[in-house]
């Protein structure tokens, strides 16, 4: 075992009936870092998290958290993890405070300790005003914050976040990202599953891409972006008559490819670095071209998958043969 790996999994296999959810997944997360596990629905992300958090027993392979085996030392593992996902939920009939105090009591913080920790977390997650309301009255964003707070009651070393921002609006998503960054700054190790490359890019030190229960890529965000084509600059000139001149400028600032009209009135060009954005703004100003939209985009999950596998992420799973190639 490498001393620095807090989460390690080798060859995880899990089968549900005829569905092969995991077909030999390796994961490795060094202490104090964030691993983004990227994949479409049904890729096996949740199954992997459930095995690592001791909720499921793998059919094959091994996994260790802080050196403890998730099957043989499950009790030890449970002492050092926090789990947040749609399934690891809170009690809707209890208030936010009652939920957090219950988990504090179960984690042996003692009565006063549980109360203090609950107050601390409610404050941190901006839930103090709603603390005495039943969780079922919370909005989606508040509920997500309470779920996350509930997984942090025991100050865990290792935190699993299973799609923590799915369904949240962009502002709430940024808040959640801030929380994750704070946790890592405080020394926690985080495994985060997501369907958004943007999210993995914003938070993760490394990204593992999973598809059909198998790892199809593992890289730093930079490395992955290099493989899948980096970013795209999208521009909509105010006057459609300016499209040809806009395209000319974009082709010059881009990484070599011709600018394309991807939607009516919107041009796009692949770029290699963020400087292309400012450069294009300067050139449009000089040329006297007014633009109504200008944005830099990471490739979507679909584009990532298309590049890595030659098909889109949403393609039907059942049409693909499942036998192990290697």
């Amino acid at each position: 075992m490498t001393a620095d790996l807090v989460i390690e999994a080798e060859g995880l296999v899990k089968t549900f009936g005829k569905t092969r959810a995991l077909q030999g997944v390796d994961l490795a997360v060094p202490r104090g870092t964030v691993l983004g596990v990227l994949g479409p629905n049904g890729a096996g992300k949740t199954t992997a998290v459930r095995i690592l958090s001791t909720l499921l027993t793998p059919d094959g392979g091994t996994a260790r958290i802080s050196g403890f085996d998730v099957v043989r030392d499950a009790e030890r593992v449970r002492q050092s993890i926090g789990l947040t996902g749609q399934y690891a939920s809170v009690d809707e009939d209890l208030t936010g405070r009652q939920n957090l105090e219950l988990f504090g009591t179960l984690l042996e913080l003692g009565r006063a300790g549980a109360r203090r920790r609950a107050a601390e977390l409610l404050d941190w997650f901006d839930l103090t005003d709603a603390a005495n309301r039943q969780a079922k009255t919370y909005s989606g964003g508040m509920r997500r914050r309470l779920d996350l707070a509930a997984s942090l009651v025991g100050s865990p070393d290792v935190i699993f976040l299973d799609e923590p921002t799915t369904g949240l609006d962009p502002a709430k998503r940024e808040d959640m990202w801030d929380v994750v960054r704070t946790l890592v700054n405080n020394g926690s190790t985080v495994l985060l599953t997501t369907q958004y490359l943007e999210e993995a890019d914003a938070l993760a030190d490394a990204i593992t891409v999973i598809d059909h229960g198998r790892v199809i890529a593992h890289d730093t965000p930079e490395g992955l972006k290099r493989v899948v084509g980096g970013q795209t600059l999208e521009v909509r000139p105010s006057d459609p008559a300016q499209l040809p001149r806009t395209a000319e400028i974009l082709t010059q600032v881009g990484s070599g490819a011709q600018a394309d009209e991807i939607r009516k009135g919107v041009l796009a060009v692949p770029v290699t670095d963020d400087a292309a954005l400012t450069e294009s703004v300067a050139r449009f100003a000089t040329a006297g071209i007014a633009v109504t939209e200008l944005s830099l985009h990471l490739p979507s999950l679909d584009e990532v998958f298309f590049t890595l596998t030659g098909r889109t992420a949403s393609e039907d799973d059942t049409t693909r043969p499942t036998e192990v190639a290697a």
């Binding site: 001791t54 993890i81 399934y87 009690d91 209890l94 179960l106 290792v158 801030d178 704070t182």
Partner: protein, 275 residues
């Protein structure tokens, strides 16, 4: 959320470096903490108690005033005879609710959170079972209260009356491992209710709840004689009214022990295997 980084609590302890907590009675303490959760839920959703409080009222009124004259000659005599039976029937039906609630809880995901915590795996189930004791006490008190209003009177003393109530509560507590088991085995909350009614109804009607067992045909008497409900009702009747107790209390306690010995391990096993 803008000041997150400033107010983030410092990490107080590194859990992974400490050994599992050896403090004694973990199962008891954790179960009690989780029982408190059930209590809060019961308190928060009083409408969930309507079935167990309304049922004895309806049964007492209907049976006493419709059948009382015909069965026992007078409504008062029949009320005296019937109330211990209705108490037993209602408290046994009341035990169904735990299966329904557990099934709903598991579907909602709170149990996965419990399973990711370093607590005994059985604590959430034991906690839920213990938390429902309050429900049984409420059933007992409300049945006795409506009975009192209708004219029911305890013929023995306070001590024996309380013993009768406790026996009924104990019976429901032990029996409730059966609905817990069923809730682990069937898919929906509605199915738990259906299966449990199908099991409880014959037990409460093919018994001495509504009429004396000696009026029944012989083949049915054989069933009635071993029916746990019969022993509970005879015990409560004896403790409330002073009728002969025989071995009924012992039989009731034996059934209680049997329920726990059989259904509790099965329920815990089914719970561990579920999901």
């Amino acid at each position: 959320m803008s000041t997150l980084t400033d107010t983030a609590p410092t990490r107080s302890r590194a859990l992974s470096t400490t050994a599992p907590n050896p403090r004694p009675f973990r199962l008891v303490r954790h179960s009690l903490a989780l029982a408190k959760r059930s209590l809060i839920k019961t308190w928060r959703t009083p409408e969930a108690l309507i079935d167990v409080t309304l049922q004895p009222v309806l049964f007492l009124i209907i049976f006493v005033y419709v059948f009382g004259g015909a069965v026992a000659g007078s409504t008062h005599d029949y009320l005296q005879f019937l109330l211990p039976g209705i108490l037993a029937q209602t408290i046994a039906t009341g035990a169904i609710a735990i299966g329904v609630n557990l099934n709903t809880d598991i579907a909602k995901g709170i149990f996965d959170r419990f399973r990711s915590l370093p607590i005994p795996r059985s604590a959430p189930l034991v906690g839920a079972v213990l938390g429902d004791v309050v429900r049984y006490v409420i059933v007992t008190v409300s049945t006795l209260a409506i009975g009192y209003v209708m004219g029911f009177r305890i013929d023995t003393d306070l001590f024996r009356a309380i013993a009768g109530c406790l026996l009924a509560v104990l019976f429901a507590l032990c029996l409730s491992w059966l609905p817990v088991l069923v809730s682990m085995k069937v898919r929906t909350a509605g199915a738990v209710q259906g299966v449990m009614f199908a099991l409880i109804m014959p037990l409460s009607f093919a018994s001495n709840v509504f009429v004396g067992a000696d009026t029944l045909p012989g083949w049915m008497q054989a069933f009635v004689d071993v029916n746990p409900m019969t022993h509970l009702v005879a015990s409560v009747r004896g403790l409330f009214l002073g009728t002969p107790l025989g071995n009924h209390v012992w039989w009731t306690l034996a059934w209680c022990a049997g329920f726990v010995a059989v259904f509790m391990p099965l329920a815990l096993r089914a719970y561990r295997k579920k999901i």
